[in-house]
């Protein structure tokens, strides 16, 4: 499974658990308007660490703005 698909699946799963209405996951989608809150996004990051084996957020200072930026963080990671 590609990193993108893994990330996308995790967004959809967490949105469902958190009873949140997730907008379609396009690269341009602003995470701020995605329908998820900060707790949901943190939950996604924690679970992705469990499944892909790394946490790219441990060292960054700003959260990605769009869904595309978020995916790139994982795709670009050498991990």
């Amino acid at each position: 499974m590609s990193v993108r698909v893994t990330v996308q699946s995790m967004f959809e799963l967490v949105a469902k658990e958190q009873k949140r209405q997730l907008l379609p996951l396009t690269d341009e989608l602003l995470l701020l308007n995605s329908g998820l809150d900060s707790l949901s996004l943190a939950l996604i990051v924690a679970r992705l660490e469990d499944s892909v084996g790394f946490d790219p957020f441990a060292t960054i200072e700003r959260f990605p703005v769009t869904f595309g930026d978020f995916v790139k963080l994982y795709e670009a990671h050498p991990g």
Partner: protein, 666 residues
């Protein structure tokens, strides 16, 4: 205060008691509840060690259920608030919370022993509470067991998770340090401190927590472990294996329910019954009680408030001999209602009061503990302040036939009436303000509209002004879409990208149609209602008429919103022409850079100043003789509260952080 418990379902369950009190921990006092069996008591007791921050807010009802489950088995259980959390006193923002809270657990275990005479103690720790419990256990003699749920096994990883939450919360916001324009940002004021969704860790706490790990070497001699791991994100398997390898009796099971217990919006929180049942079975094994038959549902007694004791907490005031008193209270005749009253210094005869109803299903401390902070601030200015729980929420009892954790309980109005009556009867209150966030604002409005005896309503971020009993919570979302989305759709109609998504089927045209249909109805309704108002015809469920009627009765009204809140356009849509008529009698403040629950301290501080200003507006407290009020305003006295009251000033001072608009301009 002592309360009796009644059963949620089976009538044959033995009654248990639930008593609130303050107990010493070092030089401070902590707030706690003791759940004790009415019948024979086991020789083992339980201390519940709560999680940190938002998880503790969200998980409050589960913490209570764990305690009730233990008491129902004959095992007394103490749950309490660490220093600086819940209803306990404040903590120095520079203090090492890890060290302090570990000592608080040791003190709680001693208090449990003193009150019940139990010989051995089982610590039940949730998340960070599990890590703290493991540390505290070394200093508690007679530890029987540690029952830990979703334990933090690695402090550094836990902090990383919190940092991610914080980073995500700051999306689209200015850097935190730049948000200290009004002086209330705790991170700017305390270097190294970090705020996570409204709750802080000091620099020393972060330094202490970073290297901490759950370790088998730290397990107290003779204690056994039961580990409930998260089914969605298991992390404790290795720790369990290390315990077993070290010869420590330990079991580990992964159970579902942690996310629904601690990591959702509190109104969606669900008590994880598989975990409650695991605790019951574990305790039954510990005390030698009977096991449930296979498939038999657990029966847990539930508390109902019955009486009131003499528990009280003394808090520092503004000067010598000006200490505040805080005390748990219960009131209500039909319902069993619980709250905490903060009383001003003795001798204050102003007889002014504020009542806070719940925000959503957050228990009485409020989101980011804001009701506690506001209550203590306003008590220092002479107000009696009650933060109360509706039935089925927080520490109040339930109502037969009604579900718990209901944001809009059908009896809310009766329970507000009971809270108001209690304050007037107990303290001789003459001037009473209702103040609430989100649904707390809604309930305040409904109370005033229903003619309850109040003089002021302060509403922060209401998301709706009418509610149909039994309606699903997401009903508000449909209205939100109808109010917000048409503007977004209009912006996108010329976007090639947007049309590509339509043709790819990524956009629901049905949803857009629904939004426009609802919006059209709302707009039509507004026009009809405005026409009726113009003709002085009163229609049912008319917000504009209600606000005018409330103002006509001399009740001061004020709204405070975060930018982008749904309640802003909805207010305009549903109150229409009446807002213009009300003018300065219904000020609307908008704070930019704030989220719905004011989870950042800078914005929260500004909101508190605005509320204080509106609380004092037209009050006897703003009179020339009110020295406390003048003192709070500094050298310029009361004028400080006007700092944010003018548009021109706001623009020159705050870079649009705050806008105050009279409703006629709005």
């Amino acid at each position: 205060m002592r309360t009796n418990t009644t059963e949620t379902t089976p009538s044959e369950l033995p009654a248990t008691t639930m008593e609130s009190f303050y107990f010493p921990s070092g030089e401070q006092s902590l707030f706690g509840w003791l759940h004790a069996p009415a019948g024979p008591q086991a020789s083992v007791g339980v201390v519940i060690c709560k999680p940190f921050g938002f998880e503790a807010l969200c998980g409050h009802s589960s913490m209570r259920k764990f305690a009730e489950a233990a008491a129902g088995l004959g095992v007394p259980a103490l749950r309490f608030d660490y220093l600086g959390t819940g209803d306990s006193p404040e903590i120095d923002p520079r203090a090492d919370q890890v060290d302090r809270w570990t000592r608080d657990i040791v003190a709680a275990a001693a208090e449990l022993r003193r009150r019940t005479g139990v010989e051995r103690v089982c610590l039940v720790g949730i998340r960070l509470g599990a890590l703290l419990a493991a540390r505290a256990a070394r200093d508690i003699s007679g530890i029987a067991a540690l029952f830990v749920i979703a334990p933090v096994v690695n402090g550094k990883r836990y902090l990383t998770e919190l940092r991610t939450t914080r980073l995500a919360a700051l999306m689209g916001m200015p850097p935190v340090a730049a948000d200290n324009r009004f002086g209330g940002d705790v991170e700017a004021l305390n270097p190294g401190l970090m705020e996570f969704t409204g709750y802080t860790f000091s620099a020393d706490s972060i330094a202490a927590l970073t290297p901490l790990k759950l370790s088998a070497a730290d397990s107290p001699a003779g204690a056994e472990w039961f580990i409930v791991d998260r089914a969605d994100l298991p992390v404790a398997k290795d720790f369990n294996e290390s315990l077993v390898a070290a010869g420590v009796p330990s079991r580990c099971v992964a159970l579902p329910g942690f996310v629904d217990m601690c990591l959702v919006s509190p109104q969606y929180a669900i008590v994880p019954m598989p975990m409650v049942e695991a605790l019951r079975e574990f305790l039954q094994g510990l005390v030698g009680g009977p096991q449930l038959a296979a498939g038999e549902a657990p029966r847990i007694p539930k508390s109902v408030i019955q009486g009131e004791g003499s528990a009280a907490l003394s808090l520092p005031g503004d000067g010598p001999d000006s200490n505040l008193i805080e005390r748990p209270v219960c009131f209500g005749t039909e319902a069993q209602l619980f709250g905490i009253v903060t009383e001003p210094a003795q001798g204050d005869s102003s007889r002014r009061a504020v009542v806070f109803p719940n925000t959503g299903t957050d228990f009485h401390m409020g989101a980011s503990r804001m009701y506690v902070t506001l209550a203590r601030t306003w008590a220092r200015r002479g107000y009696y302040v009650l933060r109360m729980d509706f039935t089925g929420i927080g520490d109040s009892g339930g109502r037969p036939g009604r579900r718990d954790n209901d944001v809009f309980p059908a009896a809310a109005l009766d329970e507000m009436r009971a809270g108001i009556k209690f304050m007037r009867d107990r303290y001789g209150i003459q001037e009473l303000t209702l103040c609430g966030l989100c649904s707390g604002a809604y309930h305040s409005l409904r109370a005033a509209a229903a003619g309850l005896d109040v003089q002021r309503i302060l509403m922060v971020n209401p998301q709706n002004y009418f509610w149909k009993d039994g309606a699903p919570l997401d009903e508000g979302m449909h209205v939100a879409e109808a109010v917000r989305n048409p503007g977004i759709y209009r912006q996108r109609v010329g976007s090639l990208q947007a049309w590509k998504r339509v043709f790819k089927g990524e956009v629901s045209l049905l949803r857009i149609a629904r939004v426009y249909t609802v919006r059209s109805f709302l707009t039509l309704e507004l026009a009809l209602r405005d026409a009726a108002r113009y003709l002085r015809i009163k229609l049912p469920q008319d917000l504009g008429w209600e606000l005018e009627d409330i103002a006509r009765r001399g009740i001061h009204i004020a709204f405070i919103f975060s930018t982008g809140e749904l309640g802003i356009p909805l207010l305009k849509l549903q109150a229409g022409l009446s807002l213009k008529r009300l003018g300065e009698r219904c000020p609307v403040h908008i704070i930019e850079g704030a989220d719905h629950t004011f989870s950042r301290s800078g914005a929260r501080s500004l909101m508190a100043k605005m509320l204080t200003q509106e609380l004092m507006a037209g009050s006897s407290a703003s009179g020339a003789g009110d020295t406390a009020n003048r003192a709070a305003g500094g050298a310029s006295g009361y004028q400080e509260f006007h700092l944010f009251s003018g548009v021109a000033h706001a623009e020159s001072t705050s870079k649009n952080a705050l806008r105050r608009t009279s409703s006629s301009e709005y």
